[in-house]
Symmetry: C2
Subunit: 239 residues, 2 copies
DNA sequence: AGTATAAATGAGTCAAGTTCAGTTATTGCA
DNA sequence: TGCAATAACTGAACTTGACTCATTTATACT
């Protein structure tokens, strides 16, 4: 018989890859990079040690794959959430909550990925670079549109806003995780996100309410007008 | 003769420790944690491998010592710089520049320290916790005084402001380091710090000029008054 | 000078990542 | 259906590198 099981070869391979990834995730999160044993991962996944190397070049590549899977989920969640929102404020607030929650969940994993994410030597071109690029593209497009609408300040490079946004959030998560070990209550993602947004709004020059929803003061209106005017001048000057 | 050299025993020991630390710093920065070989560090420092273990418990402890030395320099620089400044804005701007410059210099090392700094498991009580605590104490006292003066918003917990501050700066450094590999010009610490401060000021509710230096608008004055009043109420209510 | 103690050494141990020659399963084809 | 050909898998052997320890060398004290 050509197909002893009701699964195609490809399916069986992907199933195994998934099993290995899941086992590796567990082991890495539990014991850290050095502490995680290849032998333990193989055993947990139900394969021989050698088999593991048919799927992943080495231990580092295995970690990269685990992190990559996390980034894929993260990016999908961000893109999906933003798609259903229209206001700049609503979108940024969503991204903040989403990032915060996701990082709280997978903090142990992210901590392991940091040296790769932060070691500039061969970072560009590495798999991690691609992960990150896809993820922040969601944020970038939200901000670009926000600037075009006049909702956000346009006197800083985009990457600076991005660094302020994700930098604040990630440090908050770190603080929350360190406190969690000692504090009684687990960190509240919602309230952390609210606090972070209350710093990010003024940092980004973002008004809380959508302009059409709130009675604007003369000063707000003037500020917004200036931004749109300045942007129009930029666009006009460019061609 | 009791002292073949003109150095005391203690001095020779510290000299060796210094040599080992310097060699380890080099090796870690060059090759990363795993890539750094104990044998290479020992050779570079001019000692036998076994000797190294008389000074440091293991490879991790060696890295911790190297990072600790960096944090000590960082903290001293921060404290000294702040001591000569009076305005909240000037102090924060200095801390931003100082942090940015120091991180740009020692980025490779910091990247290695991240997993320790970020792995919450046994972080509290670890040497890293102490390093960090001493360092951020400088920032914290600046902010506390800034709040007391009414220069800064007081509706957020201190750690949130801290996370916004250092999170933004560190992400900026990361971005700068990643770009540096490709971009022609090296990242300008000064201009990065200025940009970051232009986000941090509104995020912290900080006016640019010292209040006595600039002609305040009625609204500014009212806002400042409210902050001081609110703080007084808190203090009064506490006893 | 002689002895006790501190410091240093580097060959040896051991754990763990990686490889590879041999084995088993799967597929395409006559 | 049976038979290559190829893909997938295995685990024992190899290799590397952190760490230990019996031994040697230097230093301090009397």
């Amino acid at each position: 018989m050509a197909n002893s099981n009701n699964k195609t070869r490809r399916e069986r391979l992907e199933e195994r890859e998934g099993a290995i990834l899941a086992a590796a995730h567990d082991e890495f999160v539990r014991h850290g990079f050095e502490g995680a044993k290849i032998a333990a991962i193989a055993k947990r996944a139900g394969v021989a040690e050698g088999t593991l190397y048919l799927y992943f070049r080495n231990k580092q590549a295995l970690l990269a794959a685990v992190v990559g899977a996390f980034y894929a989920r993260l990016t999908r969640g961000a893109a999906d959430g933003v798609a259903g929102l229209t206001s700049t404020d609503g979108r940024l607030a969503f991204l903040a909550r989403h990032h915060l929650k996701s990082c709280l969940d997978e903090w142990a994993l992210l901590a392991l990925a940091m040296p790769m994410l932060f070691t500039g030597k061969d970072y560009r071109g590495s798999e991690y670079f691609g992960f990150n690029r896809a993820y922040v593209a969601v944020f970038d497009s939200v901000v670009r549109e926000g600037i075009a609408r006049g909702d956000l300040r346009n006197d800083l490079p985009l990457h600076m806003l991005r660094d302020g946004f994700y930098g604040s959030l990630e440090h908050s998560v770190r603080t929350a995780m360190v406190r969690e070990s000692s504090a009684a209550q687990p960190p509240e993602a919602e309230s952390l996100a609210d606090q972070a947004m209350s710093m990010i709004r003024p940092a980004f020059g973002l008004r809380r309410q959508a302009p059409e929803a709130a009675g604007e003061s003369m000063a707000d209106l003037a500020q917004r007008f200036e931004r749109v005017a300045s942007r129009l001048e930029q666009v006009a000057g460019r061609r």
